[in-house]
Amino acid sequence: MSDANKPNPAGSGDVPPQKKADESAAQKAAGSPQPAPVAAGAANAAATPPSAAAPAPAAAPADPKPKVPFSPILTKHINEPDSHTLAHYQARGGYETAKAHIGVTDPGALIKLVDDSGLRGRGGAGFPTGKKWSFLAKGTGKPIYLAVNGDESEPGTFKDRYILEKDPHQLVEGVILTCFAIGSKHAFIYLRGEFILGFQRLDAAVQEAKAKGFVGKKIFGKDVDLTITVVRGAGAYICGEETGMLSSIEGGRGYPKIKPPFPAVSGLFGCPTIVNNVETISAVTHIVKNGAAWHKQWGTEKSPGFKIFCLSGAVKKPGVYEVPLGITMREMIDQYGGGLKDGRKLKAVIPGGLSAPVLTPEMVEKCTLDYESLASLGSMLGSGGITVLDEQVDMISAIYNTMRFYHHESCGQCTPCREGTGWLEKVAHRFHHNEGHQGDVELLGDIAKNMRGRTICVLADAAAMPMQSYLQHFKKDFEAKVKETAFVEKQRTYRDEITPTAKTITATGAGPSALEVGSNQGTQRSGENKDRG
């Protein structure tokens, strides 16, 4: 497998060219340094003017921090050959941080360090990591588990793939540090089944670390034990949800569990569990190494640090780009992504994976890439998967495709989600074929509204949010596809007959008074009698 990482993929004999993600990344990297420094992995983006100008967006006046030049940290080495090996990692100071801290530093101090750094979860919700760790139930007598979420199932996101395939040792070191901080002796890293190479590389990395005594019994010669288990999923979006993932690790279908109790109190096997994203844990390695202040020099007040963004869609240079939080969306699209393909016009941007509400071009102008800015625009930073939709994209097709995804991926536990995603898909299917019924636009909004907040996990919300935002911003596209039919007309008439509206009641002489004084029981009864009569 290691030869897949060679910079010249043409030499890899029996496999077709462009095999594996990394070969094509390597191709890009091979071609990129001189003319276009922004490679797929953004490894070289450091020295370019765009990133130097990055941390001071005009749209964020509340950020008084001076500009600090940023160079990629998590993705720094991903374009180097053999970057996934232990030798390569140790040559650049790997495992030194863990060695210095394990069994030496006070675990509480490590938690405080991460808390001070302001690191927020990179998986989607953006919950402060240090805070999450401090919620851990203590003194239960049960083992504590760390579960690292590498399911990365949100469409549009592919950042963890690069960490797992290109630099898995920084994740392993992060796991070691995290486990020491939270007092865990067993960590699970759950990868999605589709990460074939990622699983092989991470598994190999854990074995390498085990052989060196960094993982296992008495790690680094100290009285600390740690087991790391790599679990491979098998293709279920829902396992990206933290409790769904825990169910899957426990050997069941990936059904999310009701919260509370939160995993920090009762998670894996009923024991206190911390669930963090691959990118978060990888960042812990660097934060412990360099300190909280170092991490805070980038980003905004409330969203400090750096994040890997995944750019896809109609841009010239799609790929992963690691940038400080708080740069503008425009900068990401135009300077990192190289602008839109073939000079096309922007139609919409999905800012944080498929479940994030879409942004219109006007919103994109004032959008910066941090948790607060996107929240204020009614969307979310999510997992950092930015998809650019150009003017050629039919938004109805896009929402239909999105709804089909959620219908397919709903685990089926909760009725509002299982049925609701199906209904949304069916109605979107009608629109997709220019056969929307009168009232379907309202129907979609109604279904979406009634799905939100009524299920165990947020998959229903994840499906409803994009639908609501599409309805809000692209209502005309929907209305253009409404086709009234005689059948529907008849149905509507029938519906009006059986559920009389105030208007029809007035018209038939029942009078509005019967409705207005409805709270009076006596009147209500007489109203009923009238109806019967």
């Binding site: 462009q18 594996k20 589709e194 426990e250 050997g251 069941g252 799609p318």
Partner: protein
């Protein structure tokens, strides 16, 4: 650690493979190397049930796909019921099952890949060379094709997985070369599947129906519901009609025609009818009159 106390006729689920497995003696465990691996898992995991995901992967390696026999062995090893294992295998879509082809093409059909007709390009190419549309398998069982949801490599569409390998930008000459290689490895001529009728995979297979296309359908105007529509029963027509004209032609098209007919009419299944007409520009806001 004695998971091998298996009664052959114990909890075997109703299966189509009963005849096949009756011929050979029933196996009760994996090969020694995989059993060693299983024991490693059993030590590492807090309980045997939690090793199930990984043991199912072992079963997949051992048998080439997760057969009923593999499920029984897995259930025995992990101390769970066969029903539970079957529930797992049907819940997770990435496990290879017996009704999949030997080479199982999984083409990503989620939005990012589907943009700019990338998914369709790959599917059309596979259909052209192997004669299989999504949800179908070649009659000899060598190849099958599925549309799947996101494979997490969205910057390089279309993404395809086959034979436990991951490929990106899989269309045009790259896919062509790969198909050539697969056919050559199987000792088949390049046009082995030209004009051969495919078979449908097991209807239980959780694939996306063939007509679920992202783009291109609008350019032909409103699509008629066909017998493949998941929301209508076979032979049942659409509830909505616009002009009386189309009613003269049948609303349902025989499956075989729809599947194979390259030049089928506008009310046929349009999964791959547009092989020649990738009008990228035509799809935007094309309104049906």
């Amino acid at each position: 650690m004695s998971p091998t106390s298996h009664t052959p006729n114990g909890a075997s689920p109703a299966s189509g493979q009963a005849a096949a497995s009756a011929a050979a003696p029933r196996r009760t465990e994996f090969s020694p190397e995989r059993m060693a691996k299983f024991h490693d898992y059993a030590e590492e995991y807090p309980n045997k049930r939690s090793a199930l995901m990984m043991v199912l992967r072992l079963a997949e390696e051992e048998f080439g796909s997760i057969t009923d026999e593999a499920m029984e062995i897995t259930a025995d090893l992990c101390d769970v019921s066969v029903a539970h294992v079957q529930g797992m295998v049907t819940f997770y879509t990435h496990f290879k099952r017996p009704f999949h082809g030997k080479h199982r093409f999984m083409v990503c059909a989620t939005l990012m890949c589907a943009l700019e007709n990338n998914t369709d390009a790959a599917l059309i190419q596979i259909k052209d060379r192997l004669g299989i549309a999504p949800g179908e398998r070649t009659a000899d069982g060598l190849f099958s094709c599925e549309k799947v949801e996101c494979l997490a490599d969205c910057d390089k569409p279309p993404v395809v997985q086959c034979d436990n390998e991951h490929f990106c930008s899989m269309k045009g000459p790259v896919l062509e070369a790969y198909l050539d290689k697969l056919l050559k490895d199987e000792g088949k001529p390049a046009d082995a599947y030209k004009g051969k009728a495919p078979v449908e995979m097991d209807p239980r297979v959780p694939t996306l129906p063939v007509h679920y296309n992202f783009e291109g359908e609008t350019e032909q105007g409103a699509r008629r519901f066909d017998d493949k529509d998941p929301y209508l029963k076979a032979g049942e027509g659409a509830l909505t009609t616009d002009v009386p004209g189309p009613l003269a032609t049948p609303l349902t098209v025989p499956v075989a025609d729809g599947v194979n007919g390259k030049g089928s009419t506008s009310n046929g299944r349009n999964g791959h009818d547009r092989a020649g007409g990738n009008q990228v520009n035509g799809k935007n806001g094309a309104k049906h009159v």
